[in-house]
């Protein structure tokens, strides 16, 4: 095999595995499972909600707003996580340790103030 393509071998293997596994499961279901179809059973399972509607249906804007708010606050974890992972190393440097600690506290404080603002403005009330 051309060595240039060596890096892609795992990709190919994963591809084969994914397709193969899916095929095996579906086929197994087809061959092993009993089939007694009724009308209810023929439609996709949606907890009783009518599954067929127009895809252009409008969602309330509140979904988006909540999603965005979630996204923003969720993303801040991206900064906290590496900090936490390296914090034990920061502690070893006596000069830097307080900076590392209070720096993150400052960040979190601002974040909480943002949360407080959001709360008071009523962004979290659904109605």
């Amino acid at each position: 095999m051309d060595p240039n393509y060596a890096p892609y071998v795992p990709v190919v293997i994963i591809g084969i595995l994914v397709v193969g596994l899916a095929a095996v499961i579906l086929l197994a279901n087809r061959f092993l499972g009993p089939r007694r179809t009724t009308r209810e059973k023929a439609i996709p399972y949606e907890s009783g909600v009518d599954p067929v509607s127009t895809p252009r249906q409008r969602f309330s804007v509140k979904f988006y707003m909540t999603a965005m708010l979630f996204l923003i606050f969720d993303l801040e974890v991206v900064f906290i996580y590496p900090w936490a992972a390296r914090y034990s190393e920061f502690l070893r440097d006596n000069a830097f340790a307080p900076i590392a600690f209070w720096g993150m506290m400052f960040f979190v404080t601002i974040l909480s103030l943002g949360l407080l603002y959001e709360w008071k403005r009523g962004a979290m009330d659904w109605e």
Partner: protein, 536 residues
């Protein structure tokens, strides 16, 4: 650590003031008058100005601090401090114009003042940023706040539309900026400006990638500072945004953009081969942008009758003049070129521009306060009869923008053009001539404003409903008076801004100054008096 906090005290003060007004506003009863928050914020800006002043003298030896506590991501030098001062002054005056303007526009929300503070914060960090990441984040803090401010009159479709346009184009420009940062990073393997400069000067960088990065950075900043042909957003946004916001945006964004661009270009690409052409010189690019900007801005402004829109085109023209300041290379005493220094033209011109624009947009806010934003000719026709003081301030602002002697604008142009002439062996004489021609052409539309304000009658069907606001008058008056003061006795300010320009020598690329600055420790760079570099 506490010492380090002192170093960034202007930033901290503005941050805290922004947070306080955000929270105070949200606990205040809805519908109440929020103007008093303006005074709170202004007080914060004033305090930050004081802190800047203190730090300026702290660094009087010419030292530049770059603290380890912030991982060398901020540079505190005279250049940054001077521009912070300009930005804070603009923010202070623009805030005062908003006190009664916002209620008149039915948009009196506390968030306004917090957003002004946050965007000022972003601007200040921009001019101090020492690495590209800090620069990017600061730019976004500024931009996002300004997007919201531009759309602050939610009832006005103009305001919303201008915000949306600014947002789409601005985020597109951000992407270009990021691509530029990415290429520069790819070429050099670092995001610290100083190290990029070292790598570029030392020939360790992938030169084509770095070049691509440089061009994209210039394009992105060209967008922010409204340089043609990246200026298309300016008139729409300036016209649609509330006048008090436009005033702040016109001066703050420009000051921050120019500060960051100057530092970036001189630090990262200050090496001679990037300046005088053996690779490709960014100066050529800047020259082209400058010429296109001043010509296009002036020509388009000629036919413009809306005050705010005219000022937008004039902003483009002034970008052209200001870009010339980036080309100033002062001669040093020992005959070699002090490559990484700027003269005093940039900072002083920005100061003059800030004052004139704050006054002009202040007047626009006062005459346009009829619920419907309107700065057409009939809005300020015969203003002299209704309100001589506002008309006078408007006149001073126009004369300063035009560059009539005894105004700060004239001294700014004189400094800028004079410095460009005495640097670089006269190769830019033609550029100065182009700029002078342009500034004379601009007389036509600036004086038109004065003529309409003084010599036309008020329009019959739309009498002016002037905004009665003492803080606005104070802000406009202070701006006009300072314009005259800096025009008549500018020496101190020019000296300070020259010092600021020279301070870039210490903080930008050490490679070109190997002999002089090699002893620099990372924490505090060596101290060289500007006099060593200057001619005298």
């Amino acid at each position: 650590m506490v010492d380090d906090l002192l170093l960034i005290s202007p930033l901290l003060i503005v941050t805290v003031m922004g947070l306080v007004s955000l929270l105070v506003g949200v606990f205040a009863p809805a519908g109440s008058f929020k103007g008093w928050l303006a005074f709170l914020t202004s007080f914060g800006f004033l305090a930050a100005l004081g802190a800047c002043y203190m730090l300026w003298h702290e660094t009087s030896a010419g030292a530049a601090f770059s603290s380890q506590s912030f991982h060398y991501s901020l540079t505190l030098d005279h250049f940054g401090l001077a521009l912070c001062g300009v930005i804070l002054l603009g923010a202070l005056l623009a805030t005062l114009t908003a006190v009664h303007y916002l209620p008149a526009q039915k948009s009196d929300h506390a968030e306004y003042y917090a957003l002004i503070a946050f965007s000022a914060l972003g601007m200040m960090i921009m001019v101090m940023a020492a690495d590209l990441l800090t620069l990017f984040v600061a730019l976004e803090v500024m931009s996002i706040s300004i997007y919201i401010l531009a759309g602050f009159k939610r009832d006005s479709s103009f305001s919303t539309e201008s915000a949306m346009k600014y947002f789409i184009l601005g985020s597109f420009a951000s992407a270009i900026l990021l691509l530029g940062i990415s290429f520069t990073y790819g070429a050099t393997g670092t995001i610290s400006m100083r190290e990029i400069g070292l790598a570029v000067a030392g020939g360790d960088a992938h030169s084509e990638l770095a070049l691509f990065g440089m061009v994209m950075l210039i394009v992105a900043f060209g967008f922010k500072i409204a340089a043609a042909p990246f200026h298309m957003w300016t008139p729409d946004v300036y016209e649609g945004a509330p006048a008090s916001v436009t005033g702040f945006m016109a001066v703050g964004v420009k000051a921050a953009g120019f500060g960051a661009l100057a530092r970036l270009l001189l630090t990262c690409f200050g090496a001679p081969e990037y300046r005088d052409g053996s690779a490709v010189s960014w100066e050529t690019l800047i020259v082209i942008l400058a010429v296109i900007s001043m010509c296009a801005g002036n020509l388009m402004a000629l036919a413009q009758k809306n005050l705010k829109r005219m000022l937008a085109y004039s902003a483009i023209a002034h970008t052209g003049y200001l870009l010339m300041a980036l080309l100033v290379v002062p001669a040093s005493s020992d005959g070699e070129q002090a490559l990484n220094a700027l003269g005093g033209g940039l900072v002083f011109y920005l100061l003059a521009y800030t004052l004139a624009n704050v006054a002009a947009f202040g007047v626009a806010a006062a005459v346009g306060a009829r619920g419907v934003e309107d700065a057409g000719e009939e809005a300020y026709a015969g203003l002299a009869g209704r309100d001589p003081m506002l008309a006078f301030a408007l006149t001073i602002a126009m004369l300063s923008l035009l560059g009539i002697p005894l105004t700060a604008g004239f001294m700014g142009k004189l400094t800028l053009f004079g410095e460009l002439l005495s640097s670089g062996g006269g190769e830019y004489l033609w550029l100065v001539v182009v700029a002078v021609v342009n500034s004379v052409v601009s007389a036509y539309y600036y004086l038109r404003v004065v003529m309409v304000a003084y010599m036309q009658d008020e329009s019959a069907e739309k009498p002016i409903a002037l905004l009665k606001s003492a803080p606005l008058r104070v802000a406009v008056g202070v701006a006009a008076i300072l314009t005259l003061v800096f025009g008549i006795m500018p020496n101190k300010a020019i000296n300070a801004s020259t010092r600021a320009g020279y301070s870039l020598v210490h903080t930008s690329n050490p490679a070109t100054y190997g002999a002089r600055v090699s002893a620099a420790k990372p924490a505090i760079t060596s101290t060289v008096e500007p006099k060593d570099v200057a001619h005298r």
